[in-house]
Symmetry: C2
Subunit: 471 residues, 2 copies
């Protein structure tokens, strides 16, 4: 960092230190005051843009003006995802150690596309993913000591896309694309269908398998669909089991899926984007029964394990179909370590070439909280959700639509869809909570996804009081 | 931020402030001392992992221990991409305002998948990309006021994948996949081929068009290839023009490409991942002549516009084929603003669902440096590279393999490949510089990609002295 002549002025080290402290102070203030803000901003489309000048400035501006504009303009249009009353979608965690681990990654500005482009970036990633295998009781095929291992992707969407591409490769590659069929439940996340379409699978070869009353995949229907396609000369190449669906937290029977697929060559992928974090607690590891027979697995520490987005942990039992499909090595990326084959080059495990040093934030989280802290965190949310589900169950104006799944509670108003929709609107209008909806078996359903970094039983008591008041 | 009972301990606001200051201090020290470190670490595969414990800790650890371990373990295995002597690949910029803008994004922890999930995230992104359209003299079809507009992706790989998918959609969708052909020069970036394969295009339908002596695409051969495929009933659906190739900085004739494709329905995509940043200077905007007729365009401010990775600016002339291909709307993502159609939901412009608030760092950069500062930055690098190319040209042991392109200088030893390879190894062994190689017309070529945030003429003088010493 040094000053330059002319119009280029980099901050000096002392200017950067001072601006850095000011930014940290702003974040401390933001988090300290977050409960005083309405979670959802009261603005209309275009309002934020209307506050911004139409042109980039010709001359550089001082840092304190920028920070003031974050407060003056940007913060007016934020939905506060870190507010403890945020129960929408699935929460996306942010925690102090993750924020600071990520800050170091940003400051270092290294690229982890190859081992050779910054060895620590690759080795720490392999290492903390191995830690996760142990911590979550995952089977040994996902440990880097064998043919498989883990990699951090930006999202479950991207992780599942990689699974699709590896599966396609193993099934013969794009030559056989028009014969390939995929199987997902009608409750699987929309990103799975999107990934299949991106990979060139025709929409009429994506089998949406019906679900049971608990919204888990119907094994009988899955078996029939696969058998039917095999009889027609098609190639069942990809089956997804979801552990913790978005709408209701339903858990597919992974062992049952593997029993059906074991006589086929289909790749089985398990999407536990949300629920996977719960397996840091031994008492929730049974949710993954059967995962020792699958080909790939994804869960997102950025959802419910205190690690900032983006941090999706993707594991494959055998990395070879993946790297065979995704490795293209031009001259300008060749290097002796890669050619010796003794290192992992994560660029071959993902779509993009470039990659951030994302394992730093995960490492900071695992060490700052420790296994004990992470278990306590998950258990706190599950217990709080259990309490909420109990309160809803005994309220005669409300009905649990499905049994609580971990920390996800789905309920409705007994008077029907309209009453439920009105209730949701009233709750969100308080500004103290944010809830989103889904539709289950045709019924409008309010979801309470408990999982914010700072959400505790106390916050659910506030929510329950708001529900009772607005019912 | 609050303390909790049991084993869960979040940092208090004051603990976070103190840890945040310490992290900023560490980064200031890191950057201040960076020139004292060898750019490339002297370690072997496995060394970093060997310094790390085999298991995640059971109990949480104090933040200062983590920071010490970054220094003690992680920094020993870093390639220092922000060292001013870094000339490898293409540099990936990091600057103080970008680091701090990104820190705010991380701290806020909002998701920008929909306008409704945090309006500022969407609106600032649209706004700063419109600023870029003006700043870089891009044609108006890339401005959000029409049918097209810009979006920030993680990398040019992902941006180009989106272009491929939109092109595939416009050409009839995956039903016609087996007939689709794509055209790229043999100098196009490897990620383009990777993207085509991901989208299900067969490798024998990817036409690698030969290049001219200056390594730009041969228009005559492109024309012949397209004509040949049309005659065979195939569908030319995607053509890439590169402005600034990775190996030599070659610039394809975009106008010429568009003249050829205008009678076809092919989608023309321009990849200016590296060189695009130079167009903040009016004198370099001619490189994009013809871009007013193309369908999509990408350049990466994270390469050479002082904005930390990841920040790839992707523009489409018409967003409809893109969003038609990538939009799947399950019940749990429906909201009134999206249904009214008056907002942009960027999840439909990319592969992943989740997305960070990446425009904050770009906004901070554009405002901190101002247009003047950015132009001065680019001009400084180009002038320094021009000086270096001049020194190399007059040195009788060295030869410029191609003419300098912007800030990229490609040279070799006159004694041939072995001498060039030895020279590169000797230079990198000094620890003061990092250079990488390519092969041009069969010749081993040393690349000097000038573009580090803190790289100036003074650093190139050091490099030239090292070259003269090790020649």
């Amino acid at each position: 960092m040094k000053k330059d002549k002319d119009n280029l002025h980099h901050m000096t080290p002392e200017e950067f230190r001072s601006a850095g402290y000011a930014t940290i102070d702003w974040l401390v203030d933001y988090m300290s005051d977050i409960e005083k803000q309405p979670i959802t901003p009261s603005i209309s489309p275009g309002d934020i843009r209307a506050s911004l000048p139409n042109h980039a400035p010709e001359k550089g501006e001082e840092f304190d003006i920028l920070l003031k504009d974050v407060e003056r303009i940007i913060s007016k249009g934020l939905t506060h995802w870190q507010h403890p009353g945020f129960y929408g979608y699935f929460p996306a965690n942010s925690s102090p150690p993750a924020i600071l681990g990520d800050l170091i990654s940003t400051g270092l500005g290294v690229q982890g596309m190859l081992w050779a482009t910054s060895p620590s970036c690759t080795e720490l990633e392999t290492h903390v993913l191995d830690w996760l295998v142990e911590l979550c009781g995952l089977p040994k095929q996902f440990h880097s000591s064998g043919n498989g291992g883990g990699v951090i992707q930006d999202s479950a969407s991207s992780s599942t896309l990689c699974a699709v591409i590896a599966a396609r490769e193993r099934a013969g590659g794009s030559k056989f694309l028009t014969q390939m069929c995929a199987y997902i439940s009608d409750q699987a996340h929309s990103s799975v269908e999107k990934d299949l379409l991106i990979a060139g699978i025709s929409s009429d070869h994506i089998r949406l398998i019906e679900t049971e009353r608990d919204f888990s995949i119907c094994l009988e229907k899955l078996n029939l669909a696969i058998g039917h396609d095999l009889n027609n000369g098609l190639i069942p190449f990809f089956v997804v089991g979801t552990v913790g669906t978005t709408s209701s937290g339903a858990v597919d029977d992974i062992s049952g899926i593997c029993d059906i697929t074991k006589h086929t060559k289909a790749w089985v992928h398990v999407d536990a984007a949300w629920a996977g974090s719960a397996t840091v607690c031994p008492e929730f590891q049974h949710l993954l029964n059967g995962v020792e027979n699958v080909d790939s697995y994804v869960f997102n520490p950025h959802k419910w394990l205190l690690t900032n987005f983006d941090c999706s942990a993707f594991f494959v039992a055998d990395s070879r179909p993946l790297t065979k499909a995704l490795s293209i090595v031009p001259e300008y990326l060749k290097n002796s370590q890669s050619q010796k084959g003794k290192v992992i080059d994560y660029r071959d495990w993902q779509v993009p070439l470039g990659r951030r040093f994302r394992s730093l934030k995960l490492w900071f989280v695992l060490r700052s909280y420790g296994a004990e802290g992470l278990r306590s965190y998950i258990r706190g949310h599950v217990a709080a959700a259990e309490w909420l589900a109990g309160e809803i169950a005994i309220n005669h104006k409300l009905r649990l639509v499905v049994a609580r799944s971990l920390s996800l509670v789905c309920f409705c108003h007994v008077d029907g869809d309209h009453a439920s929709e009105v209730l949701l609107k009233k709750l969100n209008a308080t500004g103290q909570v944010l809830l989103t909806h889904t539709v289950l078996s045709g019924n409008y359903t309010i979801r309470v996804a408990v999982g914010g970094t700072y959400t505790s039983k106390r916050d659910l008591e506030i929510l329950m009081k708001l529900i009772e008041k607005n019912i």
